[in-house]
Structures are given as C-alpha cells and as structure tokens.
C-alpha cells in the first residue's frame, strides 16, 4: 500500500492514515524523495494525527526522511504527533532532534511559510 503525497503550491502534503509497516515506511521514504526531486518542492508537511504509536524503526525512517529532504533542499515539518506517541518516543529515547514540529496541518503550513520567508 502506498501513501499518497499531494502537491500544494510549493509544498508537499502527506497525511499518514494507517499503521505503518516497515515496507510501507521505506516505500514512503523513496516516494517522497522522488516527488521532491520531480516537483522541486521547498517544504513538506507530514501529518501523523491518526498514528497512535511510533517505534524506533519508524522514528528512524522519519528522521532519515527529514535529513534526506534537507539535503535535497526541502524543509520538513511533522505535525499532529499525539500525546501518547510523544511520551512513548521520549521514553524510548528518541527525541527526533532538529525535526520541526507543529500542532496540526494548519500550524505546520504556517511554520513552513515563516521558515521559508514568504
């Protein structure tokens, strides 16, 4: 199953709606980078509102997506991390350092606009 990536002006929007298995997560990483390349998008918002748990593998994929996108010149904001997920991640010892976060999609887009200065 593939995760749809939508293009909105200069940004890419991704909303992850179901539990990620390893293959889907890795497939998503590839698709997103490909899409950034095709569209030369300058910002990406990944919304995790419907995700109720993230383990260290998914966290690593997300961190990697962030660093790889940055190399390709796109800023990534992760939005909608649930309280339970945030607590679990911190206890797991994963703090997604350097990754930009926002409360929801709307705030995420605002943050990107601020960051990119337009």
């Amino acid at each position: 199953m593939r995760i749809p990536i939508l293009k909105l002006y200069d940004y890419l929007l991704v909303s992850i709606q179901w539990e990620l298995d390893d293959a889907t997560a890795l497939g998503f990483q590839e698709d997103l980078l490909q899409k950034i390349h095709e569209t030369s998008a300058s910002g990406v918002v990944i919304d995790l509102t419907s995700i109720d748990f993230i383990d260290s593998f998914i966290a690593k994929v997300l961190g990697d997506v962030f660093s790889m996108s940055k190399l390709m010149g796109a800023k990534v904001v992760i939005t909608g991390i649930q309280p339970a997920v945030a607590i679990t991640l911190i206890e797991l010892g994963v703090s997604l350092e350097g990754v930009m976060t926002a409360l929801d999609l709307e705030k995420g887009l605002e943050k990107l606009q601020q960051e990119l200065g337009d």
Partner: protein
C-alpha cells in the same frame, strides 16, 4: 494449653495487670505517658490484659473478631506497634515470674511451660501486626489517591499560551501523570507556548530535572514550545553543580518574565490603553 498455666492466667488477673503496668511504665517513653492519661492507661491496660486472658478459651473465631476490634481501638489510641509487642512480651514475663513465685515452675516442666506460652502468644503477635499493616496500607493508598488528585492543572492564560504550575515533590509516578496532563492539555487547547512554573517545587535533583527535560522534549514533539519559569537561586546552583544540562530549554527566573517572553514568541505584547 497446659493446665497449670491456664489456671494461673485465669485466676491471677489483678496481680498480672498490676505487675504488667509497672513493667510497662518503667520502659515506656515520655511521649506515650504524656499523651495518654493515667486513668486511660489503666483502663486500656485492663482491656489489653482481659483480651489476652480471654484467648485462653480456645474459641478461635471469637478471639479473631475480638482481637481485630481491640487492635483497631489501640490504633485509634495511637499506641505504637512496638509498645504493643513489648506489652505482649512483658505479659509472658509476668506470667513466668508469677508462676515462679508461686513455685509452680519446676525443673521438669519449665521448658514445657515456656514452649506452651510461646505457642500461645505467637499467633496473637502475628494477628496484631497484620492488622496494623492493613491499617497502614489503607492509609498509604488513600494518601496516594489524594496526591494524584493534586496533580498539576493546565491553565490557559491568553490564546496560545498556557501555564502549568508545579507544586510539591515530584516522583516518577507523579511525573508521568503530569506529563500526560501536560501533553493532552497542550493538544486540546492548541497551545503554542507552555510555561512550566517550578516555583513551588522544593528540590530539583537529577531525577526531577530529567523529568522536566523529558516533558519539554515531548512538548516539542507535539508541536509547541516549552519554557521553565521560577528558577530560584538555590535551584540554579543545584542544577549546575549536579552537572545537569538545561541548555536546550529556555528558562526564566519568574513567571512574569516567562509570560513576557511567550508573548514575544507569539508576536504580541501588552500595551496600556490611552485614556
């Protein structure tokens, strides 16, 4: 139970009570004597001794219900457990001394008598200890519940700015609860900035600091900013001397400064209205 022991105990109540009270007064600490009036002491002591004597009638069920009543009464009186146990021990001593004086103890039966008395008093000790422990456990669990109700509230001040005042000692259990309240609150109230005020936290050690850092990181993950306010001089000193790294977190010495900074972060300021 040995017939001689049984007869002695059931027939020498007044003698034993007198002796027992003398022995206990010699050993009791000042505190207890001051708290309990002499009259009260005599009354409860009599009750205590009668209670023990009544156990020689071998009706276990009656004894158990009486004993729990008695133990509860003693708990309400505030007699320490050590005092009661000492009391039982002294009672055995009184019985042996009394029997020796009446020359009822001989070389042949002394071991049997001591063994018999021990077999009789041990279950009493155990029952009393278990009732005491149950009472303590109940108190502890009630207090735990009371403490949970004290857990920190999240107060919205201005749109997007929320304050969480922390008061009292923070242990792991409470820290987890606070973290959950904090994060659900931040998401629900859509806060951009949360100020955690630690003015009311008496001690910040490595563990408390660790919990605060974790909370700040988790707040960042859900997409808000976190600030620690109310850092007093002694807390700043302990944090630095313990080598705790709070560099990643914005800290302010007072809640007022914190609110100013939070307004600044959200591009707002408070101005006086011209009259």
């Amino acid at each position: 139970m040995n017939q001689i022991v049984f007869t002695f105990i059931t027939h020498s109540r007044d003698y034993m009570l007198e002796e027992w009270m003398n022995l206990m007064k010699e050993n009791a600490d000042e505190r207890l004597i001051n708290v309990v009036s002499n009259e009260m002491f005599v009354q409860t002591s009599a009750e205590f001794i009668d209670m023990i004597i009544s156990n020689t009638r071998r009706n276990n069920e009656e004894f158990a219900s009486k004993l729990s009543d008695f133990a509860e009464k003693v708990v309400r009186l505030g007699w320490p457990l050590s005092f009661i146990i000492e009391g039982l021990h002294k009672f055995t001593l009184v019985v042996i001394n009394g029997m020796v004086m009446k020359e009822q103890v001989t070389k042949d039966n002394q071991m049997e008598i001591i063994y018999d008395l021990d077999k009789w008093t041990s279950p009493m000790k155990q029952e009393i200890i278990s009732i005491y422990t149950q009472t303590w456990e109940r108190t502890v669990s009630l207090q735990k519940m009371a403490l949970q109700e004290l857990s920190a509230p999240l107060i919205p001040v201005i749109e997007g700015i929320t304050i969480m005042p922390l008061i009292g000692t923070i242990d792991t259990e409470r820290a987890k609860q606070i973290m959950e309240n904090l994060l659900t609150g931040v998401v629900k109230q859509r806060s951009e900035v949360v100020l955690i005020d630690i003015t009311g936290v008496p001690v910040v050690d490595t563990m408390v600091a660790h919990h605060i850092i974790q909370a700040a990181e988790a707040v960042r993950l859900v997409g808000a900013k976190c600030m620690i306010c109310g850092i007093r001089p002694e807390i700043a000193q302990t944090i630095v001397s313990l080598g705790i790294n709070l560099n990643e977190i914005v800290t302010k010495n007072s809640l007022k400064k914190g609110i100013d900074a939070a307004l600044d972060w959200t591009n707002r300021k408070i101005t006086k209205v011209e009259e």
